[in-house]
């Protein structure tokens, strides 16, 4: 079970790393090579984004990766196959990340059944608040999967408590307002926010949006359990090719 794995792993390491890639960007073969080098560099968990044509929570870097992947002809089926292969080859938990329409069109129950069968651990769906997610949560629960929900700095205590009551596995704490990939200031304000998150749930906390280097990861040590690196590795691949990913990840902690 995901939460158990994370806790075991946390015992050995002060903070865990989760990375995010957009499937089929720049192509599926490269995506698999990136996964291999990330796992080899010690990543503890990965989210695999199934591209969507209208990714409203994503900033320019991930948005372009979505568009390029779709333009190159990637399909949901191909992404699901990729997930199955990755989960079979590598000994870390994998999650799918996508927007709700992808699950909805595929059939939410069928989606959950397929990813369970493929050996994935759960999904992150940033445009699906728990209030709209009854069918989704039911399907995830039925298949023993983790629906990863989201805390935000704008959430009230009551809201954090409500979201926490729906969460399984861990909670994804969005570090700030805005979309993915922009600069985040890891500051005292963040400290207070993460303390609020910690009070709201006993589940491990992942922090994402703008985490980009060792300094950010060090800041999160002790305040959160999982640092999420998204746009930064995509930038790295864009600028230096997939080969640069391993050293970057290894240097984060």
């Amino acid at each position: 079970m995901l939460e158990h794995y994370l806790r075991e792993r946390l015992r050995e390491k002060g903070i865990l790393l989760m990375t995010h890639i957009v499937l089929g960007y720049p192509d599926f073969e490269t995506s698999m090579n990136i996964v291999a080098s990330m796992v080899a560099a010690g990543v503890d968990m990965m989210e695999l984004q199934i591209p969507f044509s209208e990714p409203i929570a994503d900033g320019p870097v991930i948005l372009h990766a979505n568009q390029r992947s779709l333009a190159a002809g990637s399909s949901v089926r191909r992404c699901l196959d990729f997930g199955r292969e990755a989960a079979a080859r590598f000994p870390i938990p994998f999650l799918f990340m996508s927007y709700y329409n992808i699950l909805y069109r595929f059939g939410v129950e069928r989606f959950a059944s397929v990813i369970k069968d493929s050996g994935l651990q759960g999904t992150i769906v940033p445009d699906l608040p728990p209030e709209e997610g009854a069918e989704y949560m039911q399907a995830m629960q039925k298949h023993g999967l983790n629906p990863i929900f989201i805390f935000s700095p704008a959430s009230s205590e009551a809201r954090l408590a409500y979201v926490a009551s729906c969460a399984r596995g861990f909670v994804y704490c969005v570090a700030r307002k805005g979309v993915t990939g922009r600069e985040t200031r890891f500051s005292d304000q963040m400290d207070a926010y993460l303390a609020r998150c910690r009070r709201a749930t006993n589940l491990p906390l992942a922090v994402g949006f703008g985490v980009k280097d060792r300094r950010d990861v060090d800041f999160l040590r002790g305040r959160a359990d999982i640092a999420v690196i998204g746009s930064q590795t995509i930038r790295l691949v864009d600028e230096h090719g997939p080969g640069a990913v391993g050293d970057f990840i290894a240097g984060l902690r």
Binding site: Y99, P153, S155, G178
Partner: protein, 409 residues
């Protein structure tokens, strides 16, 4: 939120967590405004002083004679300030922004009408204003970009996705999740997350409330049918909803583009190509592929060129309360030409879709019956697009000469 804005299975509020509190605050402000009679009274007063309301209901005597069937009445939303029904929604939301104490507004725009309307509202209310517009639309609608900028708005050309309206909405949402503390997103149509569909339809209902009173005054009874074009659906919701409990047939006309068989259209309810999905914050019929990726759309009328449709209309469609038809680009240009020649009226290309269907049906109706067509906007300010649609050779020469003059200057 007390409820999440469902109309049957459509609507809802599918937003990233960071927006939850902002949406709740908006919903509260809207609910308070709606239950305060003084708010609507102030809205009506401002629309009277600033935007020619009530707009007339014009009896189209020549068109009526031409078709020899139902008596044709035209609701003149084209006479609003900035030339379309869009003014209703933006002034209403402007009043709400004041109540919420925010200082900045953002909006998406396709054809540019909603952008221009928002820019006038922002200028009048003293808000700073940013308009997101697909880069393709910026190219096609330069005159509207010119006016937005002159009115003091910043126009951002969106180079993502298909570079049209839906991409402008995505970009406006990205701005909103970043700046929601001081910024209100003035969504331009009855789509998006709750409470936008309900709120926009409520402001636009001023159209139908007036029309209902006017038609009874002019004819002594309710109309047999009402026709409105449907892009996102705000002008249709506006004129339809006040008649929803009456024995009046409501007809929404979508963009048939180059014909629904070609795939180059924006018909979500009148043709089988669309499927229920969730995007841009709400659930409705979207033109999408089997994976759930949104498809390209086409219409001669940029304002109808949209992948989704109001959840309110999707539900009325499913209930069978509103009938949906489509009009092709070619039919639209013909209906526009006839309306200009017969009545001296110049409907926008968007509105002309409603005229197409009304013209198909009026001859088969009785002279004892009346129909209303919602002329949601005026066409004369879209001279570039309309002249293009007519392929007017003298206009082409004029543009070529002007371009040469600019090039040599």
């Amino acid at each position: 939120m007390k409820h999440r804005g469902y109309y049957g299975e459509f609507g809802g509020c599918y937003v990233p967590e960071i927006l939850t509190s902002t949406i709740e605050q908006l919903d509260e402000a809207f609910c308070a405004a709606r239950s305060d009679p003084a708010f609507w009274a102030e809205y009506v007063r401002i629309m009277g002083e600033y935007s020619c309301r009530p707009t007339p209901l014009t009896y189209a005597e020549n068109l009526t004679r031409h078709f020899g069937g139902a008596r044709i009445y035209i609701k003149r939303e084209d006479l609003n300030h900035t030339g379309a029904h869009k003014a209703n929604n933006v002034m209403g939301q402007g009043l709400l922004v004041r109540r919420m104490g925010k200082k900045r507004v953002i909006a998406e725009t396709g054809a540019g009408q909603h952008g221009v309307a928002t820019a006038t509202m922002a200028a009048r209310c003293g808000f700073s204003c940013t308009i997101y517009m697909g880069a393709l639309d910026v190219m096609r609608q330069r005159p509207n970009v010119f006016w937005m900028e002159r009115l003091g708005a910043r126009v951002v050309a969106v180079n993502e996705g298909s570079r049209i309206l839906k991409d402008a909405i995505n970009e406006a949402l990205r701005d909103w999740v970043t700046n929601m503390d001081d910024t209100h997103y003035v969504l331009g149509t009855a789509c998006g997350p709750h409470p936008f569909p309900e709120m926009v339809a409520w402001f636009q209902s001023i159209i139908g409330r007036e029309a209902r009173e006017q038609i009874q005054r002019l004819t002594g009874s309710l109309p047999k049918r009402i026709y409105a074009c449907v892009g996102g659906g705000s002008n249709a919701c506006g004129i339809f909803l006040p008649f929803i409990d009456d024995d009046v047939e409501l007809v929404g006309v979508e963009a048939g583009g180059r014909g629904v068989a070609t795939g180059q259209h924006a018909s979500r309810l009148s043709a089988p190509g669309a499927a229920v999905g969730v995007a841009q914050g709400y659930k409705t019929f979207f033109l999408q592929d089997g994976d759930g990726q949104m498809r390209e759309t086409h219409s001669v009328a940029a304002g109808l060129d949209y992948v989704g449709v109001s959840p309110i209309l999707a539900d009325l469609h499913r209930q069978g309360r509103v009938r949906f038809e489509s009009a092709t680009d070619t039919e639209v240009v013909q209906a526009l030409e006839l309306t200009m020649r017969a009545e001296g009226l110049i409907p926008a290309l968007e509105s002309s879709h409603a005229f197409v269907q009304a013209f198909k049906e009026a001859p088969r109706m009785s002279p004892d019956e009346s129909i209303i067509i919602n002329q949601s906007g005026r066409g004369d300010k879209d001279i570039f697009t309309v002249a293009d649609a007519f392929q007017d050779p003298a206009w082409r020469d004029f543009i070529t000469d002007t371009a040469r003059r600019y090039a040599n200057a």
